[in-house]
């Protein structure tokens, strides 16, 4: 059992960087298309919903609807970017492309690979979340310089959702199963966690469920930072996101070991 754990854990604190750099090199070749692709979707929501629906809705939580929505879209885009990178791109590298197999034939461990993939997915989440935040700030929907406090939260949100998606990746027999994760987990979270409307609009039971969901914690930190308001329970929210990063990381590493090294 001892050797099994060693294979699933990172070998040291720096091996993962080689995996991150591999993915960065691949991404660099298609960077422009990737950035536009990652930004287009949340931008459309931000302006479509924010400006269009904002006319009807008026002010929300003491601010314009589009400014309210901006925080939700930053968190959501980090969630989506990290998730998609993990369930589609990392799955391809693990499965059809056999990239992971090649890496495992070196002195790298499965834990190094998973950690490198998580860090990479979090980097892409940072890029996507920050991109929207910059646009929102330039257009005056977010407050400078308090908006900077959101940056580390975006990274942590990326890690948490990459880590959760890694569990799905480790279990999925094929791409076809990822749609369930998207429709049954991610999409409900969008509406339960206060991304597009205040959570207080929900029935009490849903509100209680929502406070356990990772996207709620991300939004509760990102939105106040962007609106220039003080955030409450910072330690709790950061701690929750850390837990959502760490526990699925170990679970997925163990599941990958069973899948790839039996």
């Amino acid at each position: 059992m001892g050797e099994g754990c060693a294979a699933a854990l990172p070998a040291n604190a720096w091996n993962w960087i080689a995996v991150w750099r591999r993915n960065y090199l691949a991404w660099k070749k298609v960077a422009l298309a990737s950035i536009l692709g990652n930004l287009a979707d949340p931008m459309i929501y931000l302006f479509g919903l924010g400006l269009g629906l904002g006319l009807v809705v008026g002010r929300v939580d003491g601010t314009s609807y589009v400014a309210f929505l901006a925080g939700g879209m930053v968190a959501t885009s980090a969630m989506t970017a990290a998730t998609f990178e993990t369930i589609y791109a990392a799955f391809a590298r693990m499965n059809a492309q056999r990239t992971w197999e090649g890496i495992l034939y070196t002195q790298m461990t499965l834990g190094d690979i998973v950690l490198g993939e998580l860090a990479w997915a979090a980097s892409k989440a940072f890029l996507a979340g920050t991109g929207i935040m910059i646009v929102a700030t330039v257009l005056g929907y977010a407050t400078w310089p308090s908006v900077l406090y959101a940056l580390p939260v975006i990274v942590l949100t990326g890690f948490a959702f990459a880590s959760l998606a890694m569990v799905v990746t480790s279990l999925a027999p094929s791409y076809d199963y990822f749609i369930f994760y998207q429709t049954l987990v991610l999409t409900p979270m969008l509406f339960l966690c206060g991304a597009v409307f205040p959570i207080t609009q929900l029935p009490q039971t849903f509100q209680q469920v929502a406070q356990f969901l990772p996207l709620s914690h991300a939004i509760d930190l990102i939105r106040p930072a962007m609106l220039g308001r003080p955030a409450g329970s910072i330690g709790l929210h950061m701690g929750a996101l850390c837990l959502y990063t760490i526990l699925p990381f170990f679970l997925s590493a163990a599941l990958f070991r069973r899948r790839l090294m039996s």
């Binding site: 050797e3 750099r21 034939y105």
Partner: protein, 302 residues
């Protein structure tokens, strides 16, 4: 000390025994072959040597360390040529080597220092900036081989290194492998090509359903188990021919529509067959295919 030492190694998936109490050793500088048909357990053994799969029973030592317990340490000294290409198709030749070197903890400068000799070895100097997707099958294999050498390994583990290549590309790989052996590298390779095993391997072990059914030097095995000329006959009813030539044969094997006759005096058999029209008769020296047929009653590649 052996480069690889397996003793009493078994592996079962469900109720299927894939490797069955297997033992063998590979000395430094040796080329050792695992020969067997698909499903004989060759790839599983290769994975166990790399510590990718833990055996259910038995002991494995590779480059002096126990595997899988210290497989990571062992893999620092191993180069792997996997059965299926896992090069990065979107990367160039240069980028593939650079990225793979980093997995061994090499920095860019270190990889760049060894790159010219690897490219020369793989005969890919002119392709250094070509994408992998533009390379031919043989070039991809040579790049995989060069990549496996990036950490200057003592031991090379190759799973079906020439499967899927055309004869020309295959001969070039063999020539490159002989070059590595001449430089003192140890190679363990799995193959179902008899010719490959015969040409490259100092010693080999013949596998069937995970069991070691014969082990030795290729030519010693051939001499010991066959030891005479072989006549292949097809184009007639093999069972009828069997009774016709049996008195002049040591042994007769029938596989599909081909009859294999092991004849100490081939001329006598040929005389008997001369009166038959429409037969195709081929007389040849014995090879490992005959050894496998003798041991298992079946052909390997058909």
């Amino acid at each position: 000390m052996f480069s690889i030492d397996l003793s009493g190694v078994s592996k079962t998936y469900g109720d299927k025994v894939v490797v069955d109490k297997l033992s063998f050793s590979v000395a430094p500088g040796e080329c050792f072959g695992l020969l067997g048909p698909n499903g004989a357990g060759k790839s599983t053994i290769a994975r166990m040597i790399l510590g990718m799969t833990a055996p259910d029973a038995g002991k494995i030592t590779v480059l002096g360390v126990p595997v899988p317990a210290m497989a990571r340490l062992a893999r620092r000294g191993i180069g792997v040529v996997p059965q299926f290409d896992n090069l990065d198709p979107e990367f160039t030749v240069r980028e593939n080597l650079l990225v793979y070197g980093r997995y061994f903890g090499m920095n860019t400068r270190k990889v760049k220092a060894v790159m010219p000799s690897l490219l020369e070895f793989a005969r890919l100097e002119s392709k250094v900036d070509a994408r992998v997707s533009e390379l031919s099958g043989g070039m991809k294999r040579r790049l995989t081989l060069a990549r496996a050498l990036i950490n200057d390994p003592q031991l090379l583990v190759m799973d079906e290194p020439t499967t899927g290549l055309d004869p020309h590309a295959r001969h070039l790989i063999w020539e490159r492998l002989r070059f590595l052996l001449a430089r003192g590298k140890t190679i363990i390779l799995t193959t179902h090509f008899m010719e490959e095993a015969e040409r490259l391997c100092d010693r080999l072990c013949v596998l069937e359903r995970g069991r070691n059914i014969a082990e030795g030097r290729p030519h010693a095995l051939i001499d010991e188990l066959i030891g005479c000329e072989v006549i292949e006959i097809y184009g007639g009813n093999p069972h009828e021919l069997d009774s016709l030539i049996r008195p002049y044969s040591d042994r007769i094997e029938i596989s599909g529509e081909t009859l294999f006759c092991y004849a100490p005096d081939p001329e006598k058999v040929r005389v008997r067959l001369r009166e038959r029209a429409g037969l195709r008769v081929l007389q040849r020296p014995p090879n490992l295919e005959d050894v496998f047929l003798r041991l298992t009653g079946r052909e390997m590649e058909k």
